[in-house]
């Protein structure tokens, strides 16, 4: 048996060695918990840190170590990076990058401020947020609001190269971070409310040269799909799988934007991401399933070839973009270890799939108020296999144009938006920041003008009725069984990315501006501190000179900034009975600041 054992060990080593190919510098950074080289913490998007100096018993002693003003108001999403002794901080538009020397009390080593046409600002649907930088091969990669992709020398801030990915005049903008993988950098694009035909593009990491581009809809070649080999729910997608699901040329203004997160599995050599809503928001104007909007994609990062797709919300009627992060874990399902992908969709379902094959394993509501569908059909023999079973009462398609469909949960901002969840291998639980908001939705006819918003629905949003009165929950989720383990009610939507650590602490921020630390097993609150502005950024951690730090960007804004005007449909009940959630503006104000915490010496 010894020989077999050795062989197995050899295979293990090979598996570890192979990922080095993914991109040595990124893999090295991920392996070193002192650093954070990707917004997603690791390729798997677990947002888990092995650092454990700050733990469940001492986190209550946390203190502010230092702070840094970004000089920009508006919504601050994403988080800083730490590479070696340097910290890299980004801002919303105008997308300034600061390099701070951690050895020298965070002195500014260099600052990069791109020149961008301010006319890009109003084309960005929901504030001028940017979800941050990535580091690879000695370069800091910035994807600006105007879709300019820039590679900066990490040491000097000098521009290595820059390339333009889209045209803001047509409504094409960017808010997302990028994925450096192997010798490429993968980028997405925004513009779903402007009828953009969205795509994912790979550029050469060294030169900025375009390598491939795969659209979310259109002819097979545009999408880089093989009708025979690309599968959906285990079956080949067949020829013209997208074109068949749109009327005429509507796919050309089809949306399917790619403004979320990317993950990557070096072993399977597949990258994962989701596509957004089909344009317009009026479903009557675009008959068909509108493939492949609202879809989980698995692509080969070298060629862009699509391995599999799974459309979560065919023919969207509620703006449930499918762009939220894909978290890659290996867990036992029915006693068998499987490569999993877990995704908390805007539509309120938490999906777990086999990430090698795209097989659907779990689809359960991660907020009990979700009501637009009774469930996802899991019967492989059914013609509706994998599709949500839509409740007629909440179907804006079935109710039709000019009819106000009331009480739909979740609201268009989803049970969760882009704010990323975390996963701790110690508890095998996902920690999910959520919205607890419902809506009325009335679609009507609109006409398309390039570069102009193309919405076509009236919305009003309000806290989930007959619940705790708040607009958010922070939950722990068992992805294999599709069950909520615990749930903490929050007054406002939780719009901050979570961070799980080996110290059995989970961190997240709130819209009022609190950084909170909770026990990873029970959800019990262990620490909170009110930062200068509401938090929509993601909590990060790093280690410098043997000491662990926790950092978070404050700066309320983004779509969550709409929360400053908190939606209410029955103001008598809202202002009277609960009163508390009347308006976020009673709790916080604009401001861009980094707050860094540590334990006292």
């Amino acid at each position: 048996m010894r020989a077999v054992h050795l062989l197995a060990l050899g295979a293990g080593v090979a598996a570890i060695a192979a990922p080095a190919f993914a991109n040595d510098s990124v893999m090295k950074g991920i392996a070193n918990p002192a650093e954070q080289v990707l917004q997603t913490v690791d390729y798997a998007n677990t947002r888990y840190s092995k650092l454990d100096q700050i733990n469940a018993s001492n986190v209550k002693n946390l203190q502010v170590a230092w702070t840094f003003s970004t000089g920009v108001l508006r919504g601050h999403e994403g988080s800083p990076l730490v590479v070696g002794d340097m910290m890299y901080v980004h801002t919303p538009f105008p997308n300034i990058v600061y390099a701070l020397d951690l050895n020298n009390e965070a002195k500014i080593v260099w600052k990069y401020e791109p020149k961008q046409d301010p006319s890009v600002i109003p084309v960005m649907c929901c504030d001028t947020v940017n979800r941050g930088l990535a580091y690879a091969d000695g370069a800091i990669i910035l994807h600006q609001a105007d879709t300019t992709l820039v590679s900066l020398d990490a040491k000097t801030g000098k521009v290595n190269w820059s390339v333009v990915n889209g045209d803001p005049k047509k409504g094409e903008t960017n808010t997302a971070t990028v994925l450096p993988v192997k010798d490429k950098v993968i980028v997405g694009i925004s513009g779903g409310e402007f009828g953009v035909n969205c795509h994912v593009t790979a550029y050469d990491l060294k030169s900025g040269k375009k390598v491939w581009r795969g659209h979310s809809q259109g002819p097979d070649a545009d999408m880089i799909m093989d009708p025979e080999k690309t599968t959906s729910l285990g079956k080949p997608v067949g020829k013209d799988s997208s074109l068949k699901t749109w009327e005429g040329d509507q796919w050309k203004t089809g949306g399917g934007c790619t403004w979320g997160w990317f993950s990557y599995d070096p072993k399977l050599d597949l990258m994962y991401y989701g596509s957004g809503n089909p344009s317009t928001w009026n479903p009557k104007q675009r008959p068909g399933d509108n493939k492949w909007s609202m879809t989980i994609w698995a692509r080969n990062p070298d060629t862009g070839m699509t391995k599999w797709v799974y459309q979560m919300t065919p023919h969207d009627e509620w703006d449930y973009d499918g762009i939220n992060e894909m978290i890659l874990t290996d867990q036992k399902v029915d006693g068998k270890e499987r490569p999993l992908l877990t995704h908390f969709d805007r539509n309120g379902f938490g999906y777990t799939l086999d990430r090698a094959t795209g097989e659907l394993l779990v689809a359960e509501k991660y907020d009990p108020v979700v009501n637009w569908a009774t469930k996802v059909d899991m019967d492989k023999g059914s013609k509706n296999y994998g599709r949500p079973l839509v409740v007629s009462k909440y179907s804006t398609e079935q109710n039709g144009e000019d009819v106000n469909s009331k009480g739909i949960c979740p609201a268009a901002l989803g049970t969760k938006d882009q704010q990323p969840a975390a996963y701790s291998p110690k508890t095998s639980l996902f920690y999910v920041p959520t919205n607890h908001v419902c809506m009325d939705y009335e679609p009507f006819k609109v006409s398309y003008t390039p570069g102009q918003p193309y919405v076509g629905a009236t919305l009003s949003m309000y806290p989930a009725p007959n619940s705790h009165g708040g607009m958010g929950n922070f939950i722990a989720w068992d992805g294999v069984n599709g069950k909520i383990k615990w749930s903490n009610a929050e007054q406002f939507s939780v719009w901050s990315g979570a961070l799980a650590t080996a110290g059995d602490v989970v961190f997240y921020g709130t819209l009022e501006g609190y950084l909170k630390a909770v026990d990873s097993k029970t959800g019990k609150e262990l620490y909170k501190f009110k930062t200068p502005s509401g938090i929509i950024g993601n909590v990060m951690t790093y280690q410098h000179k043997g000491k662990q730090f926790v950092g978070v960007l404050s700066g309320v804004g983004g779509w969550a900034g709409i929360g400053l005007a908190a939606g209410l449909t029955d103001p008598n009940a809202g202002l009277g009975a609960v009163g508390g959630y009347a308006a976020l503006s009673n709790y916080t104000n604009l401001g861009g600041q980094l707050t860094v915490f540590t334990l006292p010496n």
Binding site: L73, P122, S447, S460
Partner: protein, 203 residues
């Protein structure tokens, strides 16, 4: 739809607006107290409305033409009746268009957001002409401390064909004639509104 894009270009709108002002001055001088049929009847229990007595008085309709109400200055205005339960077609239509085209930046019910002002406040000061001008031409307020930019909607039929509707709704919000509740009942869609919509939106 060539005639439409001409209609929505800014100089022409401004010229039209000026013409309206000229007319109105005369009209305003002999403005009489509102006829009982034109008076507003608001929801007394809607705490979210924040009524502004001065504006309510100023905005009251003195004239109605095929379901469209006009104030003493001759500008479109709202008509709220039955203790706030019913609004005129344009206020209703404005509510609907607002929550499709504007609320993503300006917040629900004109309450504002972190990146765009509360129009329920702006419309307390903005004139009809200024409103139409900004809607068509956009607005830039870029400095070191803020970057507020509104796009020009001059070419956007989904907005410009309903410019008066939006104005009427937001004026009702500013005066506190409408609160943060979706309008319940509405007056019938006037023939003129149907005709204008068809001509303006085109095929």
């Amino acid at each position: 739809m060539h005639h439409l894009s001409t209609f929505v270009t800014r100089p022409l709108v401004a010229a039209l607006a000026l013409a309206t002002v000229g007319l109105v001055a005369v009209h305003a001088e002999d403005a009489k107290p509102a006829a009982p049929a034109l008076a507003n009847s608001l929801n007394p229990n809607d705490k979210s409305a924040e009524p502004d007595e001065k504006l309510l008085k100023k905005d009251v309709a003195v004239k109605v033409e095929d379901g469209k109400y006009f104030d003493a200055e001759g500008h479109p205005t709202f008509h709220v009746t039955d203790q706030g339960k019913k609004v005129d077609w344009y206020a209703y239509s404005g509510y609907r268009r607002y929550h499709a085209e504007c609320h993503v930046c300006h917040g629900p019910d004109g309450m504002g957001s972190t990146y765009a002002p509360a129009l329920k406040d702006s419309l307390k000061h903005l004139s009809y002409e200024e409103f139409i001008g900004i809607l068509a031409g956009g607005k830039q307020d870029v400095s070191s401390s803020e970057q507020k930019v509104m796009p020009a909607f001059g070419d956007n039929k989904n907005v410009m064909c309903y410019a008066d509707d939006l104005y009427v709704y937001l004026k009702a919000r500013a005066a506190g004639a409408m609160g943060r509740i979706r309008p319940g009942d509405k007056e019938d869609k006037p023939e003129a509104a149907k005709k204008n919509e068809k001509e303006c939106l085109g095929g």
